[in-house]
Symmetry: D2
Subunit: 378 residues, 4 copies
């Protein structure tokens, strides 16, 4: 019996175009999905490169204008893996065309953009999701299950960091294909939208809403050559951003992100401290969850390093055998699978509406960095 198809039109063939394409190819091999994803069309402005991408990943056709893609009636789902400044326009058009929409994070460059996108998908009543993939690292999902199960008791602290070191050189230009994340007009913000958005999405999923924040940003390198104009231009993005805040449940938040922390490639860490126990996770060793249970016998109590590779761990019954880890890309595979499984039942999170809440926090963070005051975040 053949399954109904889910015909995908992908916009963008960069880093995220690859992770999404791989996810849709891999998900049906490892998960029993109600619909069969089909890589129907890839859309990108450079036809030759789009053709090459299509051949490599098995896309059936190529478009060079996303409006043409959205207009096609053989497409069920528009997946937006283009730079941030394209998200809103494409998503709204796709929703208005009745397509399901998936969008790479952050949703919009600002909460105002995101709000319009939420309005569009909700008005159209189309399935929608934002690729906050880290929720679906099995160790992170396990953390969620444990917290929801009450294993930690009352929560006192949540802290997260996302530290990188790839923009320290002053010779690095801003803008253009590989470096649009340094161009404020394209990216919207620097580490706040790129890295802290991940931290905030996970934090609110695990620990509930954030009420208020106070923040600090810094741009260490003030001017960089722009790759598109060839001219030295002021850098508009935040190179580093830290904030403190208060969650609705009374716990304290401390967050930090930077691209100037030597030795850290993608050090996304999170820790949550509760009355009964604590959890810690680090993207650099993504298959482990560190867990402290105060209820263990005192003399033999210690942080447990849980190697999250067993069949009773989230998602891991689909993969190999205990001790054999999966990687970064499987988090996208899990998200693709969950999205498809949610189409005929409980929609999978985070939806656009969920992601909007994250953007409200990042907006408040940037506002506070300007004002020097606490700002409401919800």
């Amino acid at each position: 019996m053949t399954k109904p198809k889910l015909r995908i039109g992908m916009v963008g063939y960069g880093f995220m175009g690859r992770t999404h394409s791989n996810a849709f190819l891999t998900a049906p091999r490892f998960f029993d999905l109600p619909r069969q994803p089909e890589l129907t069309a890839i859309c990108a402005r450079d036809r030759d490169r789009a053709e090459a991408f299509a051949q490599n990943w098995g896309y059936g056709s190529v478009e060079t204008d996303w409006k043409d893609l959205v207009a096609r009636d053989d497409i069920d789902l528009i997946d937006i893996a283009a730079p941030n400044n394209m998200h809103m326009e494409i998503a709204i058009a796709a929703a208005e065309a009745g397509k399901m929409v998936m969008c790479e994070k952050p949703l919009g460059r600002t909460a105002a953009e995101s709000q319009k996108m939420v309005d569009a998908v909700e008005k159209a009543g189309v399935a929608n999701m934002v690729w906050y993939n880290y929720r679906r690292i099995p160790a992170v999902t396990l953390a969620k299950q444990m917290i929801d199960n009450g294993d930690l008791g009352r929560i006192f602290h949540y802290r997260a960091k996302f530290l990188q070191d790839w923009t320290i050189s002053e010779d690095l230009p801003q803008g253009g294909e590989g470096l649009w994340r340094l161009d404020k007009s394209v990216a919207g913000s620097g580490v706040t939208g790129d890295l802290l958005a991940h931290c905030i999405d996970t934090a609110m999923w695990l620990n509930g809403g954030i009420d208020s924040v106070t923040a600090m940003t810094e741009t260490f390198v003030k001017e960089r050559e722009h790759a598109l104009t060839g001219k030295v231009e002021p850098v508009g993005i935040d190179d580093a951003c830290a904030f403190m805040g208060r969650f609705a449940n009374g716990s304290l938040a401390t967050f930090e992100s930077t691209r100037y922390a030597r030795g850290h490639k993608a050090l996304y860490t999170l820790e949550i401290n509760g009355e009964h126990g604590s959890l810690f996770w680090d993207l650099h060793d993504l298959h482990r969850l560190e867990y402290f249970d105060h209820r263990d016998d005192g003399r033999t109590r210690g942080w447990r390093s849980v190697h999250v590779t067993d069949g009773d761990h989230p998602y891991m019954d689909k993969w190999w055998v205990p001790g054999l880890s999966i990687g970064y890309d499987e988090s996208f595979t899990h998200q693709a699978a969950d999205f498809i499984m949610g189409l005929d039942g409980m929609p999978a999170a985070p939806t656009f509406a969920d992601a909007l809440k994250t953007d409200r926090v990042t907006d408040a963070v940037l506002r506070s960095a300007d004002s020097g005051r606490w700002e409401a975040a919800s």
Copy 2:
């Protein structure tokens, strides 16, 4: 321009049938291969399950007798992912039919079996390879490059362990589909062929041949119910095996494997100590290579934890960005890619002839465990 196809006939749909199938599907997405692998046929005795497997992985057809598979002229490569007792017969037949042959490790149940397989592929002049996948974990490949580059200087010690804990319960039966590794007639040996074979393959690749060994084995649970007969029968395999030895280069070997080490799921570790430096690797954190360089300044010298996820690390330019790790299965993807890239040039290792050398060591190990003496291993 379309690439020539590499038409694959797979035997076996268990754990290894899945890893191999995934590898052949994934390799061409990430590597620029001279031939396009095609999953032409899957062969397994149970037709219904074989059909389901074919549908899941996209195999074009199904066979239930491997002799029929070998006889097909639309197959270029026979890939043997069946239990060990099937390896020799299938491989020899495939070679005689002029097929390329890939075989899951260990090659044969004994060096005598393996010798016949080597003879067959060499006589037929067909490409051949054994799936010792751990060579192609990027951290392990990096170790190989460093050693070949002389970074460690004269080698003094090589030690490896492969520790598991999944057979401790006396209630676990032996034999049958999921547990044939406990059945000596099918597996050939216990941890020696299953786990130490991996350790030895990597060791000889990194550090050269092993001349002599002295070994110790133990079977902790003497009798288990046999899943196929329903009767309690003596356990013939080694539950644990340790050996010491001497490499041809004068360095000392210490190896240990067991399925009775609580807390270790698949703890394959290796360490090599040389005059100038040392390397350590652990499958549980497979994306890291620990490196000590004695030539660093003394006051700031320490073991470096290299997160092997950068573009200049082996294979990693094909994947994501620094800091984002790949998993276990990518080692098979790399091996499939290397095999295909080697077809029109330098054949990729380990060939059957390479794997035979490993089997000679495992044979010597088991011989020594019986004799209580040092045994020649090459």
Copy 3:
């Protein structure tokens, strides 16, 4: 040839009375000191317990009123290991009596108190020091040497945490001998003066002055029984405090401390990120310094775990052999030794004047937590 004596009068026989006494006994065994410390008198209100303490540690005599101790002319140095609310009065009297003064941290309960203490020792011209012992953990001292040597280049980030979990239970009383740190009138503040003061002292030593801060405090348990009155009383101290700030050198500060982080007993960590490299240290493994040097070859670059136990590491030529670690108490021994060695030359830091700067930061932190605004810290 006998050395001149340094006759010590100790005030307080609690936790810190023990560490200081041990330091003065041990220092001359391992360091070649210009003066021989002598435990001349111990002062504490309970004579019986003071006698027992004197016998245990070898003090020559006992006083029960610190004014009598200060008045003795056979005492060269008054060492204050009493609770915080006693520091100012004793220190000023000791200075006025012409004694050298050492004081457990924090110097005063507020910068205003500390200022008076600084004035007193400077007016009297007596040697003085505050027991910020963590500077003299060899790994921390090594960090100082590396930073001063320019190994890290321009500094971008400094972060520190001091996390504990010992006051989570609501049944824990406040006040009294073992719990005066929970009593605001005695301690001055909660974690800010107790824990963050350590973090700030080290931070400014390593990375220079802090210009401004914004802070957040929380008292999770609002009322506790007071051990002295037996009544349930409001808790005045901060259970947790986090702050962000800017160093004079342009780098960003993120600090956090709490006594509500399950699983952390005394997790004092610090990290500093510079252009060329980064350093990380953790009190829980105090004999290690983690160092990342970006100038290492890219393929084999990684965080180095430096086991700071070699003869060319700070202080370690005085102890054992490489690989054998020292503990927490040796940091006090080093401080005692450095103080004595500094008496006849360059005075050892941190002096009272140094510690006053720390108190100015903690004051600003507490002020900001009240005002919700950035506050000047120097």
Copy 4:
């Protein structure tokens, strides 16, 4: 009330003379001992250096001939911290003079020497102990308590390593004061007696007797200049030694030691795997015990890193507060305290008779390395 004195005559002022002296000075400050140790006399051939040592550590007098020391009637205990070739003669004479005897490990250079020493102390009925100090690292003592409590269930494996790297340079001479451990006539053997003896002592304490062994030794540098003769002489010691064996309880032993493992200063590790759980300890982080409890809930099970610094951990109620670690030297302090506390009750282990068992194993190991066969070890 004054305590009776324990008057100590120390032989040797090297590394071990310092650790023992420090232990006897420190023990009574932290432990409530029935007798007060007194550093009565130090004995060493060089009078000037002995005088300096006496002044530094507070010894009351100096001897230059150990026979004079043994003959003194104001000495209760002879503590032998001289090189191995002196142990037997001094110990026997001390016992015959009715003195208590403590001896640095290994007891004798061979089991035959040790046997005579056991005979002497047993005939004389004098208290005796060997300084296998690692038993009294709190984490190791905790392991002992857990094993004795049955926490691990049936034991399957015990493995230990002691890896160093300080003799790799061919320019290092052998013999003389700092290097007698490389001189076979003085040391008796190389790493076997120096390092494996520690591993074996702990192993048999934790896991019972060793029945049989098979071993391998190597001398990587065959000739070295002798520091005393100035001539290049053959090296007689074992630079590396590994052995496998069987414990009386049926578990398997794998041991290795070397001074040629780059990057390891004093990496003494031990691991024990049982039916219910496993333990791991590493001298480089001596304050931690790693514990895996299979009976924990499967989804949140992992190796626990126990920071052995709490008041309910062995010995730790005598020291500081949770999270603050002690160092290497405290293991000697604990041993001194336990010895003194055992004088009037249950004698503390390991006695000479206990240490003799260790020497029987090291003898068997060296015998097997020669014979190439399994040798009985008890």
